[in-house]
C-alpha cells in the first residue's frame, strides 16, 4: 500500500537545494530543480554510492554521481551517461499546502 510521508515546508527547499529523507530502509534524495521538486532513491545503481552529494544541474534537471560521474535524469531516474546503466527508483512528489510530501511504497 502506498504511503504519504512528509518531507518539509516548500520554503525550506528553494531551487537548487537538496534534502535527504529516510523511509524504512530507503534513503531518498529530494531535489528542487528550478522550482519543481523531484525525488529519487539516493543510491547510484553503479556502485551504491550516494547521489545527493553530487552536482545538481537545474537546467538539464540531472544529478551527477560524485563517485564515477554518471548523470541521472531526475524526472525519470534513467542514467544519461555510463558507467551506470540501470535507472534509479523515482517517487511521486506531492505539494500539499506548501508542504513537500512523497508517495512511497
Amino acid at each position: 500500500m502506498p504511503q504519504i510521508i512528509e518531507v518539509c515546508p516548500l520554503t525550506e527547499l528553494p531551487p537548487g537545494a537538496v534534502r535527504l529523507v529516510e523511509w524504512e530502509d530507503l534513503e531518498i534524495g529530494v531535489f528542487n530543480c528550478g522550482g519543481t521538486v523531484y525525488a529519487i532513491e539516493d543510491r547510484c545503481t553503479h556502485d551504491d554510492g550516494t547521489l545527493a552529494d553530487g552536482e545538481l544541474d537545474q537546467e538539464a534537471c540531472t544529478i551527477e554521481c560524485p563517485r564515477h560521474g554518471s548523470l541521472f535524469d531526475l524526472k525519470t531516474g534513467k542514467p544519461k551517461t555510463l558507467p551506470a546503466y540501470v535507472p534509479v527508483d523515482t517517487f511521486p512528489v506531492i505539494i500539499d499546502e506548501e508542504t513537500i510530501k512523497l508517495e512511497v511504497e
Binding site: 564515477h68 560521474g69 548523470l71 544519461k80 551517461t81 555510463l82 540501470v86
Partner: protein, 484 residues
Amino acid sequence: MATPETVTPDPDVLTENEQLGKINSDYTERYGFHDAENYLYKAPKGLTRQTVEMISDFKSEPEWMREFRLKALDHFLARKQPTWGSPMLAEVDYDNIRYFVRASETPSRSWDDVPEDVKRTFDRLGIPEAERKFLSGVGAQYESEVVYHQVHKDLEAQGVIFTDMDTALREHEDLVRKYFATIIPPNDNKLAALNSAVWSGGSFVYVPEGVHVEMPLQAYFRINTENMGQFERTLIIAEPGSYVHYVEGCTAPTYSSDSLHSAVVELIAQPGARIRYTTVQNWSMNVFNLVTKRAVAYEDATVEWVDCNLGSKLTMKYPSIYLLGERAHGEVLSIAFAGAGQHQDAGAKIIHAAPNTTSNIFAKSISKDGGRGSYRGLLEVAKGAHGSKSKVVCDALLLDEHSRSDTYPTIRIGENDVDVGHEATVSKVGEDQLFYLRSHGIPEEEASKLIVNGFIEPITKELPMEYAVEMNRLIELQMEGSIG
C-alpha cells in the same frame, strides 16, 4: 619414435646475449629514434590550472569545453592514485610530464605540408605507404596534436566524417557535444579525469546510417620528446546499420626517464551497426600506458575490440562493452606480450544489460624474461538480461621460471536463464612439445617460435593482414634468444 637430430651450432648464429642485444637495437632503429625538436610550443613540465587554460586558449575552444576541462582537473587532483593493478603505478610522476607540445600549426591534408622532420618520421614508419595501399583514411598524431589527416573522397561524399578531435570540436560541435564523455565521464577514474582535463588530438569518426566503410581507417600516434604526456581523445559513432573498422598503432623513442600515454576512447554502435577497433600498441619501454576504452552496443549492434599489447613499461587497459540493446554482441580479443621490465595488465569488461545478448572474451598473454602478464576482467549479466550467452577464455604462456602470470576474473550474474562459460589456463613451453618438434629436425628456437605463434594465432588471424604479419614479426623478434 624418431631419434632427435643433433643440431650443430652454426658459427654465424648469434649467441643468446647477442640476440637479446639485437632486440633493443631493432626497436631503436625501427621505432626508438627521435627527431630534432623544432616545436611551435612546448609546455613546461607539470600540471596546473594555467596549463589547462592554456591548452583551451591555444585551441580557441567554446566555453563549455573549457569548463569541462577545469572541472575534470578538479576531479583529477581530488582523486588518489589507484593502488590496485600494479606496483609500478606508484612510479608515475605527474610533475615530470609535459602536458602539451605543438609541432605543427594545423592538421594538413597533404604530406607535403607536414613539417619535414615529422614527415620523415612517418615515412620511416611506413604510414604514407600504408595509406596508399590499403586504407580508407589516415590520421597521424605527433606529440599532442594531429599533423596529418586524410579520408577518401567517396567516403566524404557519403557523409563519413573522419577527422582529428580538435577539428571535430570546431566543425561539428553539436555532434561532439551530444556524445562526448557520455560513455566515459570525466570522473570515471583518475586517468580519465586527467585525459578530460588536458585532452588533445585523437580521432573523431562519424559513419552515417547504412554506410559501410570497406577499408580500415587508421590513426598512428607518435611520441617524440622526452617526458611527454600524450592524451588523445577518440570518439566513434556508427549510425544504424553502418560498419567501420578503425586501426591504431603507436611507437615512441626510448629514453631513460618515463613518458605517459593516457587516452580515452568512446565507441557508440547504434542499432544494427558494427564497429571493430584494433590496437597494435608498441610503445617504448619508458612509457606508462594507462588507457580507458569503453563502448556501447544497442539492439543488434556489434562491437569488437582487438587489442594487442607488445610495448610499454606498464599497460593498464580493459576495453569494455555495454550491451544495452537486445541481441547486441560484444567481442574482445586481447593479446599481451610481457618481456623484461614490463607489466601488461590487460583484460576486458562486458556487461549484458539486455536480453539475448552474446559475448566472447579471448585473452592470451605471453611472459618471458621476468615479465608479468595479467588478465583482469569483468563479466556482468544484469537482472532481466535473460537468454544471454558469454564465453571467456584466458590463456597464459610462461616461457621461463622468472616470469609471472595472474588472472583476476570477476563474474556477476543477476539472471538465471543465461549461459556463461569461463576457462583459464596457464602453461609453460613444455619440454615434451619442444622435444617433439626437435625430433622432426626443427631447431629449438624455431620450435619455440612455432609454439608461440600457434598460441597467438586465434588473435592474429583477426588482424588485417599487414598487422598480422607485423605482429608475428614483432613476436618473433622478441622471442629470439628466449630458449637458453
